[in-house]
Amino acid sequence: MLMTADVRQPAESTPDQKSTREIYLPPARKTITGGGKPHIVAREFSIYYGEFEAVKKVSADILSKYVTAIIGPSGCGKSTFLRSINRMNDLVPSCHTTGALLFDGDDVYGKFTDEVLLRKKVGMVFQKPNPFPKSIFDNIAYGPRLHGINDRKKLMEIVERSLRKAALWDEVSDRLDKNALGLSGGQQQRLCVARTLAVEPEVLLLDEPTSALDPKATAKIEDLIQELRGSYTIMIVTHNMQQASRVSDTTMFFYEGVLVEQAPTAQLFTNPRDPMTEDYITGRFS
């Protein structure tokens, strides 16, 4: 299904980047009420490590409340692009960007952007589960405390709500004071999701969230993504193409820093438009 979306146009855009452009609405799954508006918008957006252009003039719309998967071979720029959305790349001294990246219409790399507020709104979960060496409760309460919430009752509410959303509450409700490092890998990863949800983000960035997990734990994370779909804008970088096809509504294929194709997942995996996408997903890549 095609729709034309009116998106804000950054000043840097070239004339051929029209203010109305075709974007895809995911046809294969249930439509989400209130979703589908461009939440994150990239226009001619490049990311450099020193001289090296790791992401090349990407123009894309990430739809609110839907799941977007990013696939591509190693070193194609998919994680770099993901990490640019909550400015995790700022930690790399040589990293700089050109073009525009907008979040809710605001310039992510603008002079007056509050990175702390940005990262509150755009949470991230990494490849390896990385709970703090603290209790389960303190892991979840960490973010809210940073944002000034210290009332124990209020924190307890947040912890329970976050753990329930992350489908972990039933497994850990009787041992919230136990060290989070005692949880299994899959549980630790869901704890990390819960920790991210505790600060009530709008966007969840998942960077290969199941690559360190066994199939059962992977299935739980994939189920969790489906549960969270419709409440959060979710972006997932994955090397597992079956996973991308199972969990996402739209898929972006990157190759050598270029966004080759962005399409509804059902379309991309049955009838991709670009031969390069076709060759990659069918394993014909040389």
Partner: protein, 228 residues
């Protein structure tokens, strides 16, 4: 890049399908020959070959289903396997229709067969099947479109047979059983051409990813594209 085992397997399944189509078309031509010459021995052979076709169809479907489950193909690979499964089904049905023609053999005389030009009609339908399979092998969208357009010719012959039979039936001396058999044979051949058309549509899906069945205006655009 050398061909990966998974793609060799797809090629192998495609080859099995082509072999099956050869058998089906061969059996159709033999059925027309057997009816023309009232060849009982040939008719028996046709039934035996159809049993082989049925077995081969089940076997190929099982292999394709296993491929889907184990390899989880996407894009062109997925479309190829789905197309093989569907064409396989059409070929099996064409095989059955050839046997149905044989079933009508005791009721129809070679003269009547001759008068309705069923042999030509059957050869035309067989040609459509052959060309549709050729389009599959070559992944040729234009050829598939041509096959699809050929269906109109068969439909027109079938309509003509229908009109003639209805007319002849009005004669009190007419051999009704024989006329019904003639109408049935015409219908079987027309169905075969329909299956060939379906195969052609499946090839168009394989090449373009577009499902063209029941699409309004498709036939007109097809004629235009084949004329270009």
């Amino acid at each position: 890049m050398s061909e990966r085992p998974v793609h060799e397997l797809i090629r192998e399944l495609s080859e099995v399908l082509v072999q099956l189509s050869d058998k089906v078309v061969g059996n159709l031509f033999n059925a027309l020959h057997a009816v023309k010459h009232q060849d009982e021995q040939g008719a028996r052979q046709i039934r035996l070959v159809d049993d082989e076709i049925d077995m081969a169809e089940v076997n190929l479907e099982e292999r394709c289903l296993a491929f889907l489950a184990l390899q989880q193909p996407v894009a062109r690979d997925l479309r190829t396997i789905v197309t093989i499964i569907k064409i396989n089904d059409d070929l099996e049905r064409i095989g059955d229709l050839a046997v149905h023609i044989i079933d009508r053999m005791p009721e129809i005389s070679p003269d009547m067969l001759e008068s309705f030009e069923f042999e030509n009609m059957g050869l035309h339908a067989g040609d459509m099947v052959k060309k549709s399979i050729e389009a599959f092998v070559l992944k040729d969208r234009v050829l598939a479109g041509r096959v699809s357009a050929m269906d109109e010719e068969i439909d027109s012959i079938h309509r003509k047979v229908f009109r003639t039979v209805t007319q002849l039936m009005k004669n009190p001396d007419s051999d009704i059983d024989q006329l019904i058999a003639a109408l049935s044979i015409s219908r079987y051949i027309e169905r075969m051409a329909d299956h060939a058309t379906r195969i052609a549509h499946e090839v168009i899906y394989l090449v373009t990813g577009e499902i063209v069945r029941h699409k309004e205006g498709f036939y007109e655009s097809l004629i235009e594209s084949t004329e270009e």
